[in-house]
Symmetry: C2
Subunit: 178 residues, 2 copies
Amino acid sequence: MSIYKNSGMSLSFTNQRRAILLVSALITIMVWSFSLWARTNDAIPYPAGYRQWAHVMSALIGPQSPAFALNGGIHHIYANEKGLEGYRTGRFPDGSVLVADFLETRESAGITTEGPRRRIDVMLKDSRRYSETGGWGFEQFRGDSQTDRMTTAESATKCFACHGQQKERDSVVSRFRK
Amino acid sequence: MSIYKNSGMSLSFTNQRRAILLVSALITIMVWSFSLWARTNDAIPYPAGYRQWAHVMSALIGPQSPAFALNGGIHHIYANEKGLEGYRTGRFPDGSVLVADFLETRESAGITTEGPRRRIDVMLKDSRRYSETGGWGFEQFRGDSQTDRMTTAESATKCFACHGQQKERDSVVSRFRK
């Protein structure tokens, strides 16, 4: 009997521990899910379909430029419909998205062609959400990835340190080539 | 009286000459108008709004290339909706328009930027009208002009001599960069 009694007490203790573990696990999952949800909702979405948006302009950064290490190669700027309105009027409405597409280049017999994608830089206009940085949110996606984000709060501040100098042009450096 | 008579005859003769001249002038104007109408209707129209079409790909032609004299600088290819379908399927439907935008380049401190437009090259797909050249019509517009056409029947044949080698790809050399 004592064996059963002990077994009973032991089982009850195990169940209690299991219940605590289960609740802890549930709380952990809930907190993690909420944090993921919050992060996902806060994040600038990948600009799906930008390759068919209007092409604003292009430039090439060669080895002689101090920007070569980070930005070397060819880059093209694309804008969605609202972004285009911004280039026309000088004020980018909320919802404007601009994408800088950074590609490596290959050179052969004097002809430079486009190589693999290094990353894309994205600017999203939301004047309330990004009021600290001229109304612009900044994000970068590595290579062809739609999820590998490269921008931290600190690097976003750096983006704006440079873009923000273009006060007359709503913090946008590029111009739409006619 | 004789004076009047003579004058009458002389006037009549002048009127006759005037009538002949007028008819000749009218015929000339009609023939010229018809020829202009035929030419205008035959001509590939300037691809208005192509700067907001999808950007297919880009390349740079440098001084080391034998193509530099004619095509040196950066060029971008643009496609209308039907053209995009062609890049996806490999068969370009009638109405497809492709534009190659040739620009001079400027280089400073390792950064190459876009300069003035040299010309645009246009390809229009119309399988019946251009059955002799793979279904493609070819045209070029000088600089920013929408009327200064550079292509003759002879140069269009030259365009096709090269494009036509791309049999598997409906005579199109470029590919849509992902």
